[in-house]
Each structure stands twice: as C-alpha cells, then as structure tokens.
Symmetry: C3
Subunit: 151 residues, 3 copies
C-alpha cells in the first residue's frame, strides 16, 4: 500500500503537497521579512549592534512588532509540523480528492491567519476560524498516519 512511487510528480497528491509546502515556506519567510520591516518602521531593535542611530535604545515591547512576532511563532507551531505530517500522509496513499482539499485548506487557512492577524487586524472569530481549519486538517492527517503505522 505504502510505497516510494507515491513520491512522484505523476502522483497529483504529492504534487499538491509539493506546491503548497513551497508556498507556505515562502509565506513563513514573508512574515519574517515583515517583522524586519516593522522593526525599521517603528525603530524597534532588539540588539545594540542593530541600532541605526546613537540616540536609539534597544526596545522589546512595540505592539506592532510583537503582533507580527506572535503570528510568526504561530506559523512555526502549526506549519512546520504540517511539512512533516503532510509528506507522511502522502505516503499513506490517501484518496486524491480528500488529500488535495486538505492541503488546500491548510495552505489557504494559514495565509488567511497571517493576513487577519498581522496585516489587517480583523475582529475575532476570523483568526480563530483560520487557526482551527488548518489545525483540524493537519490533525486528521496525523490520525491517518497513526492508523497506517499501527495496522
């Protein structure tokens, strides 16, 4: 059932995983760059060697910078485990329709999560919804992988 031929561009499930993983890597990096931009805009630098002017002091509590940092950390907590479990889920040879839509759900929900968290703050439950759509899809994949390993 599980075999290495699943890792092939001919397997549309793997191809979908490949595309969304790469997009989400770029999305994580974009959030990192956005943190840096926000540091310059607000002149909030965490290291003495980063200070652009002798008048500035290190600062850790700018709310705009901290907001982007929380969005970024939430990515690490949720997208990075997806990279691992998504690949293993492809190897369980899931039904293509379901798997492809799960990958789309994770990809779109995590992009929306960043937008409503760090770019334009949208009232709750928008961020919570985006968070739980991506989490639910990833948990489902992890449960399928546990079942495949166990039986």
């Amino acid at each position: 059932m599980l075999n290495p031929e699943l890792i092939s561009l001919d397997n549309q499930v793997f191809r979908c995983y490949l595309g969304w993983s790469a997009i989400l890597v770029l999305k994580i990096f974009a959030t990192g760059i956005y943190t840096g931009l926000m540091r310059f805009i607000t002149a909030t630098f965490a290291n003495p060697e980063d200070l652009m002017s002798p008048k500035l002091k290190v600062k850790f509590d700018d709310p705009n910078v901290e907001r982007v940092r929380r969005a970024h950390r939430n990515d690490l907590e949720n997208i990075l485990p997806f990279f691992a479990i998504g690949l293993l889920y492809v190897l369980t040879n899931p039904a293509a329709f379901l798997a492809i839509n799960l990958f789309r759900a994770v990809g779109i929900a995590r992009i929306v999560h960043t937008l409503v968290y760090a770019v334009v703050v949208v009232p709750q439950p928008s961020r919570a919804l985006a968070f739980f759509v991506a989490l639910g899809a990833t948990v489902y994949m992890a449960l399928q992988v546990v079942l495949t390993a166990a039986f």
Copy 2:
C-alpha cells in the same frame, strides 16, 4: 545501501518513525491547545481583539501561560529537528532494534518532558532527564547521518 525502498510500511523502522512522528505532531498541537485553554482560565490575552470583556486588558506575564509557552517552544526546538533527522536516519538503513528503541526514547521522553514541565510540575532533574534522553537519541541519529553522507 541507502535506497528508496526503505520508505515502505514493510520496513518496520520506517513504520516506527511514521507512528512516533504522528504522535509527536499531535503532542505539539495538544500543547498549543493547552496554551489556549490556560489563556481562557487565567484571562490572559495577548491581542486586544481577543479580549472577551471590555474590562480586560492585554497581559503578557501570567506565569501559568508562560510556562506552557516555554514547554511549547522547547518542543519546536527539539521535536521539529527530529522529524527531519529521523527520516534521514531511516534512509541510512540502521539496525532495526537500535533505531526502533531510539524512536521510542524520543517519543516517550518528549511526552514526559511536557507532562513534568507544563501539566504537573515535577521537581528537577525530571525535566532535565527527559530533555537529555530525547536530545541524546536525536544527536546520535544526526551523527550517523553525517557519517553516512561523508563516507
């Protein structure tokens, strides 16, 4: 020696990696959900749009929330590298008995780490022991992968 057929359910080492990786993904997510619960219990919210009542203010220093966040971050620092190196270690075709017990050691030690850190605080050196068992096993895998790549 190293070949893609190792990525197969017939390879009990890969199967063990598959199962423990999925369990640890679920464990990381459980810690994330636990952070959220702790935020509600202690009414500690980091974003203005998360405040449930106009009387609340954003708060960043609740010791219970921060403790779970430290446990969660420690997971990111230690479990996420395991996902990458565990798969590569499987591809070096290690002895099954050793590899399976290393995966079990990482899986059990990281679950214990969260329990004694964030659920029921157990005096040291319990957390340090759990930390170093998982770290030692993962470092061993990484060294084996370096040796495989070099020779």
Copy 3:
C-alpha cells in the same frame, strides 16, 4: 523527471542535502545547549524548580541569555523550513553544481549567523549578510519547487 531514485546516496545532490541537514540539526541543538550554559553562567532561570539556590529568583531579562534565545529562534524560523524545502528541491532533480553550492551556502551562512549573533558579537552588516545569503538560497529552492509543482 521527479522520481524516488533521487533519494539515494548515489545522488550526490541528496548526499549533500543529507550531510548539511544533519550538521544544521547539530548546530540548532548546540545553540540550545549554549542557552542552558548561559543560564547557569548568569544564574538566569525561568522556572522556580530550576533555581539552584533558595536565594535566587526567576529572571527573564538577562541580555546574554536573551541574545542566544533570539539566535535560536531565528534558527527555527529559517533552518527548519530549509529541511522541508531542501528535500523537495532534491526531488525536482536540480543541476548538481548549483544545488550543492546552494546547500553549502545555507549551511555555512547559518553557522556564521549564530557565531556573529550569539558567540562573538560582530558589528552589522555581518549578521544581516549571513541571514540574507541563507534566506536567498532557500527562497530560490522554494520557487523552483513551486514551478515544478505548477508545470
């Protein structure tokens, strides 16, 4: 074009990915150990159960500890996505010369990043340069993977 035989020690691109990934896993762990050492040197402990003496109190703002923690977090933000995208990039069957030098660039730049950030503080733009060399190489890989998935 993309096929599982690329995951083989006979493929020097995969072999290079294998080696640098394992070295970077060890580098991340070294930064974690260094954080612990710095905590002992400066007697900065975040948990009551970690305090070595009843005279100590929990402390969160030692600048040396926080500096290493920022370097460590920067690793999570940049090296962990590389583990995922590097493997997928190998599967796109890239030209060996380019791929091998991209892996070397990421590996060396991320080691330099930690050294100039957390070990011996070197004035900017040394850290920024190390950061952007690794980021640029990883973004290039991600774009190649997106193109492979799309066409």
